[in-house]
């Protein structure tokens, strides 16, 4: 890497130098297709993202391509880079991003959109696709938000929708061929447009009605009417990296990972991932064991995480834990199991996992009353929760964190009081234990985040409650918990959730607001210390837009969504039907127990 003197002056310089174990460095050659995976957040966050690790491996396995990484610099480093007149670079070669053939952004959350602009800008690239030329890299973006990132449409050449491991290779190969044949950018986009998983935003014209809603989305230049998300059918044989990057400095999730399955069958109605990653695709215990052993050997990590959207639902979980424990105990490796559901935390897991740190456990009942939990299809009962926390207390855990959402459709103050009530009962569960089984007095954190209606969920038609109402409801809970000394109340910034709601279901007109906000200094908006609500209000106003129109408006059943030309496979009818069931507080069963007809029958055969 070339010398960048500013690095030693900034906070956490290790973010900017690479040199990690298992980093892949290929020798540059004129016929090499160079791909830079760009994560629009800081190093510690981006390095923790499993999807990026998989794609890094997938592209680097292509003999004709090299994949490098770039992350958004923190404020201090950005300032130093600007002072030194330096461009953003990729860590492996240290070459600036403008030298690459493709930049691929990972869109994990809406509030990282300003960082996409920041990275383009720092790379010396024009922000808008229409201002870029053949000299500039192709700009692509994937990840869950890519399916509805209309506010980013003018900045991105092509979005990759759905599972990325195959799509990204198809794209890289197309770029290579375009280079060889001397195809223009438009010719390359012609090729990609129409293929499953590739969405070229410039090939769609959007018109708006007088009242501001999307009137029509019209394909142009032969683009298909809608674009289908790519679905990897064979996870078992899909590429999975065991030589996972091992950072030299601490990151958010600093451990080796195996992925038990993709998708989730629970059908929680607020959860976008539950619909966006259907159907469930699993790996076998044999494959997982092999991958775990290799990962431990290749990384030297002392902990391996069995990850998925809901790991307790893996049918062979106990078998897997047994097998891994047997194989890894001597190697001093501990297992961890994130995203446990309340009803699946049984004592055996805790014991099977062995030497886990018994400090904290988190559970997500999401709502305070059974009625509301039924409405959101979070099939968890109070009894389950209280039994589980008793077991956890007995097993030696003392701090419990409970996650809730606030402002869910159909929520009343009774549901809010239910949150306080549940927290109180969790405390009592401890004191109900016989004295000899009590280990340490419990402390419970109640974390409440405002509900953000997400595209491709049954609640995509729903308004978000106003900021004032969010704050009122937060206070209802706070008041109800006032006398509970063992319960800590944690609330989230209402402005952040409001902006998320705007951008989640936003249309292309928001691009101007996004750019205005960025120019006014917005970046790292997912970090409280950087988020500035007033700046966003100014940006919206300058673009002539009203945030409430996007966040707080109920949609008609038939309204055209800004992302209606994206087909994730789950049918709109199914989602609407689920919404109606929510209002009737009717639950829908886990589709592992029988198909509920979401629209993906041709992919999973009705056997998720």
């Amino acid at each position: 890497m070339t010398e960048r003197r500013w690095i030693s002056k900034v906070n956490k310089p290790a973010r900017y130098v690479g040199g990690e174990m298992n980093e892949i460095i290929k020798e540059n050659a004129p016929d090499l297709t160079r791909f830079a995976l760009c994560f629009p957040d800081v190093y510690e966050v981006g390095m923790s993202h499993l999807g990026s690790r998989i794609l890094y491996e997938a592209v680097n396995r292509l003999p004709f391509a090299a994949c490098e990484r770039a992350y958004a610099p923190w404020i201090d480093a950005e300032q130093e880079m600007r002072k030194a007149g330096e461009r953003l670079y990729a860590l492996e070669s240290g070459d600036t991003l403008d030298k690459f053939d493709v930049l691929g952004f990972s869109l994990q959350y809406e509030l990282s959109y300003t960082n996409v602009l920041l990275m383009l800008d720092l790379a010396g690239l024009p922000l808008r696709a229409c201002e870029r030329t053949e000299e500039h890299p192709l700009i692509t973006a994937g990840g869950p938000c890519a399916c509805h990132a209309e506010p980013l449409a003018p900045f991105i050449d092509v979005f990759m929708l759905g599972d990325g491991e195959e799509t990204i290779c198809i794209l890289t190969e197309a770029v290579k061929e375009a280079k060889e044949k001397g195809l223009s950018r438009e010719q390359l986009l012609d090729r990609l447009c129409g293929m499953e998983g590739f969405y070229v935003p410039s090939r769609y014209e959007v018109t708006y009605s007088e009242t501001g809603q999307v009137k029509a989305i019209t394909p142009v230049a032969g683009a298909p009417k809608s674009v289908r998300r790519a679905i990897l059918t064979d996870l078992e044989h899909a590429v999975f990296p065991t030589k996972q990057l091992v950072p030299n400095t601490g990151i958010v999730h600093d451990r080796a990972v195996i992925e038990l399955f993709r998708g989730c069958t629970r059908g929680c109605r607020f959860c976008q991932a539950g619909y966006l990653y259907r159907p469930v695709r699993e790996r076998t215990v044999d494959t997982l064991k092999e991958q775990a052993l290799e990962a431990v050997k290749d990384t030297g990590y002392e902990e391996i995480s069995m990850t998925s959207l809901s790991s307790g639902d893996y049918p062979c979980l106990m078998e897997l834990i047994g097998v891994l424990n047997g194989a890894l105990k001597d190697k001093m490796v501990s297992l961890s199991l994130p995203s446990l559901r309340i009803d699946s935390f049984v004592k055996n897991y805790a014991e099977g996992i062995g030497e886990v740190r018994k400090s904290g456990l988190t559970f997500a009942p999401e709502a305070g009353t059974q009625r509301l939990r039924d409405a959101i299809n979070k099939n968890v009962t109070e009894k389950d929760l209280l039994r589980t926390v008793s077991e956890a207390f007995e097993a030696g855990y003392s701090t419990i964190k409970l996650y809730f959402m606030l402002g869910l459709p159909t929520e009343t103050d009774e549901d809010l009081l239910g949150i306080a009530d549940l927290a109180t009962k969790v405390i009592s569960a401890y004191y109900k234990l016989p004295k000899e089984k009590r280990t340490q007095p419990p402390s419970v954190t109640v974390s409440v985040s405002p509900f953000v209606p997400k595209p491709f969920t049954p609640f995509q038609w729903e308004p978000q409650i106003s900021r004032e109402e969010i704050e009122r409801r937060q206070n209802v809970i706070k008041q109800a918990l006032r006398t509970q000394k063992r319960v800590r109340f944690q609330s989230h910034n209402a402005g952040v959730s409001h902006m998320e709601a705007i951008f989640a279901r936003g249309d292309r007109r928001l691009a101007d607001a996004l750019e205005a906000a960025y120019r006014a200094g917005a970046r790292m908006d997912g970090w409280y210390e950087c988020f500035d609500y007033a700046r966003w209000q100014d940006a919206l106003a300058s673009a002539g837009l009203d945030g409430a129109f996007y966040a707080n408006r109920a949609r008609e059943e038939g309204e055209t969504f800004p992302y209606d030309h994206v087909d994730i496979g789950v049918s709109r009818n199914y989602l609407w039907h689920e919404r109606e069931k929510a209002y009737a507080a009717n639950t829908t069963k886990d589709c592992r127990q029988g198909c509920t007809g979401c629209g993906l029958m041709n992919v999973c055969g009705g056997k998720a």
């Binding site: 310089p13 040199g19 174990m21 050997k297 002392e302 190697k331």
Partner: protein, 222 residues
Amino acid sequence: MKILVKFSRSGALCMISHLDLLRTVQRSLRRAELPILYSQGFNPHPILSFAQAMGVGLETEGDYFAVGMEDTFDPAQFCERFNACAPSDLMAIAARKMANKERDPMARVQAARYRLVSDNEQALVQAAKALFKKTEYPYTRKTKSGERESDMRPMLLGLNTENGVRITVTCGDTNLPPAVLAAALAHVGGFPAENISFVREDLLTMINGELESVLCPPLEMD
């Protein structure tokens, strides 16, 4: 048994904290599948200790760690196996078995030798000579309990200006951090401290009245 390992770090590895370095060495040892010994107890961790903490930014060609290893292991194999599994900017240079009663390197370190580099070597040499000519050099020392007036002169042990500039200072119990030395040189020489960069060449211990590399085994041992 314990093995004493002399190592270097450069490039990306200079940018990490002491705790990060400890973790990186642990993971490298594990990847190399070396037969390391673990502490007993609820939360076992490798028996591993460093001779001297290293601040962010410091490059070294001669720092040390001691690691517990099964008796059957041949120390001659250590460097090759470790280096094959460590990040490229971290390198084991030499390894030897520690004598039975040998103290951990942390307890033996008494001095450190630095190689200094500057854009203007002439000025650096002059400043160093001027600093060493002084009989005392008062400076403000930052300690955990606050600031204290102190004399730097007794901490300056040796200056060598043949073939570059090398300065030996006290290290270990009374440590003179290179950044503090740089500030003093800059002050005496009248140039900015950023102009000087450091490489730690070796950590030293007193053997028979002479400062020797910590790699040398203590005399009284077998």
